[in-house]
Symmetry: C2
């Protein structure tokens, strides 16, 4: 057979899905049940109204091709939502529906970047960003995060080169749970404006912010002329309404020009988004009640997890959004990867090693990752940002009981590792 | 704002969707109803069992992230289907589910091609192929079609250069309705094998073949060693089960290596395919009855349309699959575009000008389309293959009554155009 493309071979596997398989195998082999902290999939059911509206749409014949950019009624409702709740000045033509915000992110990268361009990503990040930059033949440059995983704005500015075209900002953040204060977001916005960069603002967790109001980067340019706007805002139904399996997200393009380009790119990318699912999404927008209920649950679980982890000396910050916390296992002497595998084996608790959220390819002179291309289909093994070496991500979107039990086991296991380490050092 | 990427700006609009808007405007303004021959969306409803299985899946909590490559039960059922019906030797790991075969096509192009590589497309083709090659920063090279829109194998061979990496084959064809005989497919396969090219076989219309059995290219390499296989087979639920709005398709990768790479690329491309929709698809596979009923209806309509068009001297071939026929309006003196707009205006019948199925960018020395980049978001205006100048595509996936009435009007209108032309020439 011919050689598969370099861009596809450069893509590493998602580390979340690797742990997924290990946990599934354990459950299937009867050694479970596993407490599942490794995947950001809410334990809630979607609102009944969504299920019934999706069903009704199918029965009413909404089973044909919708427009590539989305069902008109849904776009209108989303325009109202982003105007009212996100403070973004958008016409309905700027709202583009997508089969999940993952696809939306890729679509935006394809519009923002040409092969060889540079995109700034946070140094600890959702792995799909890194996969997407490789697929788009763009070069990822990682901007530094400081205490509490807050962006180092001055350090970010220093990452900019003449090839930088775009910065990705993700607040609340997956995997850190950090929420960036308005001043930080503003400072990042100003850097992007000064250097004429696109901004990709992934706001998947906009509704899960515990101690403040969510700030949308798009709101900063509400009063600018269209041609001056640069923020692509990305949202999803997945987390706000526990609709991960529906695959429904949307983009607000900064202006009509970029909206028109996205209208073109959605055709070759996906054709369109499932029709009945969009009618389900429209039903979701009619009632914000479930959002508040879920947010309160996540806050309770966050407090529970953070209290126990802090007491055990495994965290030094408090996540203020999303449903993730990064625990630091340096004191056990184990890497995040070693810890995660041993924890699963010994305690039936599954977490995600943060190394997978911090792979950092070295790029050669030709713009491609250096020395990374393995034979055949084995995934490349990229260098990992040393800051992530001893971290694991815990997703507390499971029941309160599982949070309590799972974190207890994790803390107990970490203590045991420390003891073993102490013993072997003696 | 920064400049949008060249690859996104190079993408032209789909011509089908342009006519879509004009027809919608006419219907909305009360000047309709329009007979809709412009879009390949079956007038049938999906099977009840699909609607109910999708609903049941939602109610049973199948609303969470599925695996990126698809729900296991569906992959098993699809493996059985492609083995039995398509004669493809596939393990279940080679089957990758996608949110529509449009996305599946792009995923395969990303795996097969690097920026600058060449892909062979038929010279009259489904426009998304062209859009996709531009998005992938690949160069489309168009292979010639002869009588009845059959591939000219020798002419195809002459299109191959050292940069050619892939050939796309689409039988039954959209927009021509041509079905390629087994010997032609075999000859194209042999050319691809000799020159070590990937084959992308788009078999969206596999179940709509009127006068023969469908032949899957993947069946030719059933007995080859895995490493020798090169056919990506693409299928969809859209046409076989009237499920266009569900967005559900799948890829059969040639071997485990490419399947593994696709497993990686689906993560950054789409994350996964909606869970409940996949359970709906599984229900569709359990009953082939609806396929035969729809095929019989399409055959009847094909016979009806072809009879009238032939009598009017507007076609010189018989489409043998899909639900399309290309009518030739050269005798009216109008281009396909002029004819389509005038026909809609005067007769409320909407067809798709074939120019949109035959745009052919000239590429410059840098590998990018030449002189095509317009300012801002206007779509580029590519040269059109002269063979398509006077053609329009008629999609006969509307009711028998509409086929009869719509083709009558079209034939009548074409006669009127000829008369006017004759009068003005006198």
């Amino acid at each position: 057979m011919p050689s598969p493309s370099r861009r596809s071979r450069y893509i590493p596997f998602s580390p979340i899905r690797a742990m997924f398989r290990l946990a599934d195998e354990m459950d299937r082999s009867g050694k479970g049940p596993v407490i599942r902290f490794h995947v950001g999939d809410p334990d809630f059911a979607p609102p009944d109204a969504v299920v019934e509206a999706t069903h009704r749409a199918m029965r009413e014949g909404k089973t044909h091709y919708p427009q590539s950019v989305g069902v008109h009624e849904l776009r209108l409702a989303l325009t109202e939502k982003v105007t009212r709740r996100n403070g973004i000045a958008a016409e309905w033509e700027q709202v583009v529906v997508a089969p999940g915000s993952t696809e939306a992110l890729l679509a935006v990268m394809e519009v923002a970047l040409d092969p060889g361009d540079e995109i700034l990503l946070p140094e600890i990040y959702w792995p799909n960003y890194g996969q997407q930059s490789l697929l788009a033949s763009a070069k990822a440059v990682f901007y530094p995060l400081g205490a509490g995983y807050q962006p180092d704005v001055e350090g970010t500015r220093r990452c900019i080169t003449p090839k930088t075209r775009c910065i990705l900002i993700n607040s609340p953040s997956n995997p850190t749970g950090a929420v960036f204060p308005k001043e930080t977001l503003r400072a990042l916005y100003d850097v992007a404006r000064k250097h004429d960069l696109w901004i990709v603002s992934d706001e998947a967790y906009e509704d899960i912010v515990f101690d403040a109001d969510h700030v949308s980067l798009g709101s900063f340019e509400r009063d600018l002329a269209e041609a001056e706007r640069r923020v692509f805002s990305l949202f999803t139904f997945s987390k706000s309404y526990a609709m991960t399996g529906f695959r429904l997200g949307y983009i607000v393009a900064p202006n009509m020009t970029t909206a028109t380009i996205l209208r073109k790119t959605q055709e070759p990318l996906v054709g369109s988004t499932a029709s009945m699912i969009q009618w389900g999404g429209l039903a979701a927008l009619r009632d914000d009640g479930p959002i508040a209920v879920m947010r309160d649950a996540y806050r309770r679980r966050r407090d529970l997890a953070v209290g126990m982890l802090r007491e055990a000396g495994l965290i030094d910050y408090t996540p203020q959004g999303a449903f993730y916390v990064l625990a630091d296992l340096a004191s056990t002497g184990l890497t995040g990867d070693e810890f995660a595998r041993a924890l699963l084996e010994e305690e039936k608790v599954c977490v995600a090693p943060a190394a997978g959220f911090a792979f950092a390819p070295h790029y050669g002179a030709d713009g491609n990752p250096e020395g990374a291309l393995p034979p055949d289909a084995a995934a490349p093994d990229y260098p990992v940002n040393p800051k992530a070496r001893h971290l694991v991500r815990i997703a507390f979107c499971v029941s309160d009981k599982d949070v309590e039990e799972g974190i207890s086991r994790l803390v107990r296991f970490a203590a045991r590792c420390r003891d073993r380490r102490g013993a072997s050092a003696r």
